[in-house]
Structure formats: structure tokens, C-alpha cells
Symmetry: C2
């Protein structure tokens, strides 16, 4: 270049992953696989905008955990004039102004506001708030039970941290119904997730297990025992996968539980069962209240429906409670059996009230979410992703000489019509160079149109080196 | 619900489209179709983060038009403490602070800054800046010619306006090479675009035309005539699709061109040709400089490569110049022949220098971009999208009675293994209700497992009403 330019050397942005083409191909295979299974169970796709109105998010409340509001990205139009205004302590704040935290050491009493009468927008941090808002907004146009899947990026505006994504994909399914939702769907979730996770390319040898429970069992027990700080107790029970049983027991003593009650609670929470028979046999509590009975019945039903899955694919694990008070019945987690401390790769459960803040309807649902990007990255780092070429092409048609250009194009078009992905070489270079291109792009077959009239087409298998006569209308891989 | 809640009624956000499930299915068909054709020509997929560092965008400069920087969305972490700081007129601005426009009528000399030492992030407003940044950043790991497609959302932070999207999809292909890029790829672009647009579901009856030119022809002519304000002249030529020829002529007089020159320019710009022969015959300029000759040769080559397409699919139209100085050779636009004023639905061209601001390499490229969301919405509004059910299921397996639950599940699983999408009904309701569900979800077949031992499975075609015996292992649609 004649003119010397100042060069800005681009760097990766922490928390925003980006893949090379060959890794992206594996990622596409994963998405295709997940979509195929979701659709094979009759779930329809929806996609919501990347943003929600901040008011809508705030109306939904903290289902996503107490600190989520701190982790949102809000949007501002760059250089939009007069987006901000200082309101002095003696002034009135106009409508539609939002308070922005600011440091002003000279006039700490002055407040900064974002101006404007448009709703403030934030990138969604999960797909639950968007689903709730969508279901309420389109309520009259949806068919219930509403079975939808959603595979989109979500954003968390966290401070940069190694191994933490700030932009990542989630793959969610949920079933929403009006007033009541059959347990049928609670049982469908683990079957779908098992089918997906056990056959994702690169996951075949991973030992995973879906662990399920029903919150009503533990909550019913705690209520029956007259325990009042239920949230606190369940928070400790939830740690039984990472903490020793005795350590949890002493924490429970610390918050005032009696030894007897701790024994009762822990012996329930430590139950694991593969069948409803095992589950019922394992529960020694004789004095079951209605909530607890209901939980046991529901979990038994779900287990009964999953008997067609391989041994150990799904187990009832009564220590699973999920941190969030959002869930009201069945709960799911999914772990690597050889690395349980990695945490759950796919979680969810049943909730009683999806969208009560958006619509005056009672909408119970059940859903589960695959933490796609985190899982994909783990398998990528373990070098287990399927190896594929850079190009999606099956065949490279070479250009023997400039005069054969039309023949090359026609040959490629015939092969494309038959379903193959085909690249054509861009110039009449030496054959060796054209073969090298196929090699570098990982294209498995190279097609030679006839160099002279009367000759046959030939095709070369790049892996074996075998070359044979072939017809574009008839050849198969 | 026992507790009265305050209800926030969600509203659509202007410029952020969202579809019902049945429309989303058509959108998926469009994406699948476009991806299939892109891959059938050997283009690989990449996906870049939704954001770029603002510094990277600014380094790339105004390829996207002069005002693009005003239309960006920048991200801010909500409630991140001390994100903003007022710097008073006697104070020094710390490093990494960005000036934010603010209104403060009491102290107009005080400036507001965004604090922090992280790069400021903005949602990408096209896929060209991300491609340039990606190619530079991963240069050593890519195989050239680098043929990539990209189908992502882009964002423009415009003020809300009817019919204008602020979040929308673009589907781009580009081929990038080092130092030189064969014309082969200039000819490949219109062939791919024709294949896509002529067979998108719902577009079959639209009369579209790809119009191509080569900027070197007009630029060469203008240089040869000794005209200096070339950018201004091409801007008027670009309007020949909307303005009368005489109106353009008087504008050209207005900027100081002679009548002779205007005649010469307009008679060139008004040339339309389907073949290279027609093109060459149409150009009466005898005194062609090297640039002009090169342009004619290149355009002729491209036209020659496209003779396999239907008549009128592609024409050379020498008035096409594209507004942007970014393009240096072949340029493309695509129009509805019965609605030319709608503007181009798919545009692009060849550029000499993709990423000179990011890397000290000469990277020429050629690319084209389908304005997906705008086109999809047009076909949607015209009611031309393929009609499909809400559910992707082919079959609903009904539940004759609670005892048949395992049979229903096993039947569904057999059909799924054979490639069908299958819903199972969630409860042993009246058959009429189960059929009504299939009807409402648009599921074309209803499967009846045997109600009693010894009976056969049956399947009902919901469109014709025909019902017949069938086996889950053998039935085909």
C-alpha cells in the first residue's frame, strides 16, 4: 500500500467468545442436533429481541437471583445528543428520567439522569423473562399447552473474569399452560435432555446423569417438622453435593435445628433412587403431610415415565432443591459423574406462575435449560469436538484449463443439484496447487472434469488417494 | 391468585421485530434455505460477538456511511458503581475516560465522562467491520481464499420510525484473499444470490433482477474526460433509477459539467446489457483509458460466467455505482422489477482493502449482503409466506387411556427414530379434544395406538379425514 496507515491491532474481548471456522462447524452441528431433538418432540421455535424494556425486566422481579440487576447491559445511543442531564438538588426530576450513578466530588448532591421518553433497553440476561413477557403479550394468539424452544445469546454484564462468558448461548425448552399443567411434561423434559446430551458430537463418552427431585418433598417435610427458616435450610441442603454431610449438619445446628430434626432431614435429603419403588421404600418418614405426599406421588410418576432410559441416566436425588424460590415442584440438574463439582450443565424445573406480573392469568410451566456455551467450550478444550474441514464442501471441482471453465461450472451445478456441497477452483493453476487447496480446506473429494473431449470425469478420494472414473449424474460418496 | 399484583402490560418495542411461532417457522425455512445454498458453494460459517470494541470500529472508519457512528448502541453495565464522573473545568481527565454528551444548565463547562479501563463496547451495525477485524485477528489461522458466510443480527440505534428496524438480520457472503483475488468470485456472487432469491419460500412469483456494473467503467470515463468532482458526479448517476434522465442532466450542469460531457456520461450510464457482446456493442466511447478498458473486460468476464441463469436474471446496468467509495470494481444491486423504487434488497461489490486498518496486509475481497429482515417482512406483509402449523410435529400420538401411556410413548419413540417429529398427548382426555389439539397446532397426522390388545394401530390424515391401519415401524406419510 502506498499510504502508511496507523494500524489498530484487534484483540479478543474478554468474555465474548469467537471461534475459527472449523470450531464453528462443530458448534453448528450441536445447534442442529439440539434443534432436531427439540422439534422431534413437537416444540416450536421462538426468538425474542435481544433487548427487553428495563421496566419489563424490573416488573418480573428477581427470578434470576438477587444480583442479576447488577449484571445487565443497558443500551445507549452513541452520541445521541443530550442523553444525560444533571438535576440539581433544588430541581424537579422530569418524567421518564432514570437515575444514573455518578461520582462528582465537588457537588455530591447533584444527580445525573438519563433523559428521553423512550423506554430504556437492556440486553436480556436469560430467556425466562423474555418467555414470560412473550407469553403474556401474545397470549390470545398462542395455542396452549405452549411448547417452545429458544436458542439465543444472553448477556451478563459481569466484570471480566477468566472462564466466565459475558455473551453466551442458552438452549431452553418450556411448556406453559393455563391454570394447570399435566405432569406428563415434567417427565418429557429429562427424556429430551438425555436424548440430546448423550449423543452430542464429542459427548458420547462423557458419563452424565440427570438428577431430579420434587421440592414439595423436602418443603413438606420441613413444614411438617414445624421448621420456620425453610429457605435457609434448603440453601444448606443444596450444598450436599459439594459439602460433607457432617459439615452441613453442623451448619444446620448453627441455625438452630435440633439433632433429631437434622437426622430426619439429612436421611431424607441423602436418598437416591432409580425407580418409584426404590424412592418410596427409601423414605422412612411416616408422618407425611399433604405437600410431602404430593411431592412423592409426582416424583414417582416422573420416574415411572423414564424407565425406558438407560440405567443411571436419571436418578431421583432428594438433595436437589435448586437455589431459586421460583420453582415449586419437579427440579432438574445434570452433572458429569466423574466431575460433580463442575456444577450442573442443564437445569430447570416446574414453576407455578410464569407471568403473573405481566398478565392476569395463572400460567404454570415446566422448563429446562442447557448452558450451551459453557458445555461446548468444555468439550472443545478437552479436544473432543468432531474434527472437520474448514470448508463445508464435499467436493472441489478443479479447473483443468481456462477453456474448461463452463464445463467445471456445469459439473459443479449438477453435483449441487444432487445435494452435494461443491467448491469450484478459481483459476487454471497447476493441478498440484488445486489439490493442495482441497487438502488445506479439508475437502474430502476432488473432481476432475475431462481434460480433453472423449475422456471421462474422474474423482479422487483425498483420504485414500484412490482415483476413479465417475459421472456427475450418478456418482455417490 | 390470592395476592393482588400490580400488572405491567408488555408492549412491543419499536424497531425490534418479534414473530409468532408460525411466522418464525417460515423465518427458519428462509435461514435454512440460505445456509444450504451458501454451503453448497463451499462457504463456511463464522459468527462474531454481538459487540466490537468502540476503538476497533473507529479505527475501521466510515465505510458504512458518514453518519453510522451516530447510529450505534453502546453498552453500559447497569448500576455498575461509579461508571460516570463529572470532570470540572480545572481538572485533568484520567486515561480511558470517554466524554459523554450532557446537559447541565448551571455548569455548562463541566464535562461528564464514562470511567473505567475496559474497552468501551458497541453492538455491531453491520457484518463488514466484524469480518475485517476477524480476518486480521485470525489471519494466520485462516485458509485463503477465505470464503465465509455470516447470518447474524445487527443493530442501528436510530430513533424509532415506522417500518425501520433497529435490530435485524443480514445474510452476508464474502471471499477474501491475500494480494489479489480472481474474478471467478465476482461471478460466483450473482449466481448464488439468484439461486437463493428465486426459490425462497414465498418469493417464487416475485420478479427480481440482479443489476451489476463495474465502477472502473464510469470512473475511467470520468477520469478520461478530465472531470475532477468524480464523487459528486457518481452520486447523481446513482440516482438514475429514481430520477428522470433530464433532471440528472440539469444537476450535472449545476455542478459545472459541459453539455458534451453530460451526453457522453449519460449515454454510458444508461447502457443495459445481458451479455458481454451487448455490453461491448453498447459502449460508443472510443477513447477508453486503461481503467475503463479494465472495467469493461472484468464486467464482460462476469457476464459470460452467468449465461446459465434465466433471461433477465442478471443484467449489466452501468448506472449502478453504489454510494460508498469503499467499492473498487464489480458492484451489485437487486431489485423488484415491478417496484424498483423499493430499493435494493441485496447489494455488494468488490473492495480493494478489507482490513488495512487492522493488519499490514493487502486483503482484497468481494461480497454481497441480503437485507434479510426487511425482505422477510415485505413477503410476510404481502401474505406470501408458506402457511404452516404452529407445531413442527408431523404426528400427534393420542393417549387412548391412562393404561396405554407406555404404549403411546413407545409408539412415539419408534416414529421419532424414523425421522418424524412427534408430539404425544398429555392426558387421557376425550378423543375429540385430542383431535382438536392436533387441529389447532396444525399437526397433519393423528396416530391411534390400539385401544385394546389385538387391535391395530391406526393413523388419521387430518386434511382428508382418511383413517387407516398402520404400523409405527413401516408407515410413511
Amino acid at each position: 500500500m502506498s499510504e502508511k496507515k496507523k494500524i489498530y491491532k484487534p484483540k479478543p474481548i474478554s468474555g465474548f467468545p469467537e471461534w475459527l471456522p472449523e470450531t464453528r462447524r462443530a458448534e453448528q452441528q450441536w445447534f442442529d442436533h439440539i434443534r432436531r431433538v427439540f422439534e422431534s418432540y413437537g416444540f416450536c421455535s421462538i426468538e425474542t429481541p435481544s433487548v427487553e424494556a428495563l421496566d419489563a425486566i424490573n416488573a418480573k422481579g428477581g427470578d434470576g437471583g438477587a444480583d442479576t440487576d447488577k449484571e445487565m447491559y443497558v443500551l445507549n445511543r452513541l452520541l445521541s445528543e443530550l442523553s444525560y442531564e444533571i438535576i440539581h438538588k433544588d430541581e424537579t426530576v422530569p418524567e421518564h428520567y432514570s437515575l444514573i450513578p455518578i461520582r462528582d466530588h465537588k457537588f455530591p448532591e447533584h444527580k445525573l439522569y438519563e433523559t428521553g421518553n423512550e423506554p430504556r433497553l437492556a440486553l436480556h440476561f436469560d430467556q425466562t423473562v423474555p418467555l414470560a413477557r412473550y407469553t403474556a403479550q401474545h397470549f390470545n394468539e398462542l395455542v396452549f399447552p405452549f411448547k417452545r424452544y429458544q436458542m439465543q445469546r444472553v448477556w451478563r454484564g459481569e466484570r471480566p473474569q477468566a472462564g466466565r462468558f459475558r455473551e453466551f448461548y442458552q438452549c431452553d425448552i418450556d411448556v406453559i399452560n393455563v391454570d394447570t399443567l399435566p405432569l406428563h411434561f415434567d417427565a418429557e423434559m429429562p427424556a429430551i435432555i438425555w436424548e440430546i446430551l448423550s449423543s452430542l458430537p464429542g459427548m458420547e463418552d462423557e458419563k452424565i446423569q440427570i438428577q431430579i427431585s420434587n421440592r414439595k418433598i423436602l418443603i413438606g417435610l420441613l413444614e411438617g417438622l414445624g421448621i420456620e427458616n425453610i429457605t435457609e435450610v434448603t440453601r444448606w441442603i443444596d450444598k450436599l453435593d459439594k459439602m460433607d454431610k457432617n459439615a452441613v449438619a453442623s451448619e444446620l445446628i448453627g441455625i438452630g435445628l435440633s439433632d433429631d430434626n437434622i437426622d430426619t432431614i439429612l436421611s431424607l435429603a441423602l436418598i437416591k433412587a432409580s425407580t418409584s419403588k426404590e424412592l418410596i421404600a427409601g423414605i422412612s418418614t411416616t408422618n407425611q403431610n399433604d405437600t410431602m405426599k404430593e411431592g412423592i406421588e409426582e416424583l414417582s410418576f416422573v420416574l415411572d415415565q423414564l424407565q425406558h432410559l438407560p440405567d443411571n441416566a436419571v436418578v431421583a436425588d432428594l438433595s436437589i432443591v435448586r437455589g431459586l424460590d421460583y420453582y415449586t415442584g419437579t427440579v432438574y440438574e445434570t452433572r458429569f459423574l466423574d466431575d460433580p463439582s463442575y456444577g450442573s450443565i442443564c437445569s430447570g424445573g416446574r414453576y407455578d406462575d410464569l407471568a403473573g406480573n405481566y398478565i392476569n392469568k395463572h400460567l404454570p410451566g415446566v422448563g429446562i435449560s442447557i448452558g450451551f456455551s459453557r458445555l461446548f467450550d468444555r468439550i472443545r478444550i478437552k479436544n473432543q469436538l468432531p474434527v472437520s474441514g474448514v470448508s463445508p464442501a464435499d467436493i472441489l471441482v478443479i479447473l483443468p484449463n481456462e477453456e474448461s471453465r463452463n464445463l467445471m461450472m456445469a459439473t459443479a451445478q449438477t453435483l449441487r443439484k444432487r445435494g452435494y456441497n461443491v467448491e469450484t477452483f478459481h483459476g487454471a493453476s497447476k493441478i498440484k496447487r488445486q489439490l493442495a487447496y482441497a487438502q488445506k480446506k479439508g475437502i474430502p473429494y476432488v473432481w476432475f472434469p475431462p481434460f480433453e473431449d472423449g475422456q471421462s470425469h474422474e474423482v479422487k478420494n483425498m483420504e485414500t488417494g484412490a482415483q476413479e472414473n465417475a459421472s456427475p449424474e450418478e456418482w455417490t460418496k
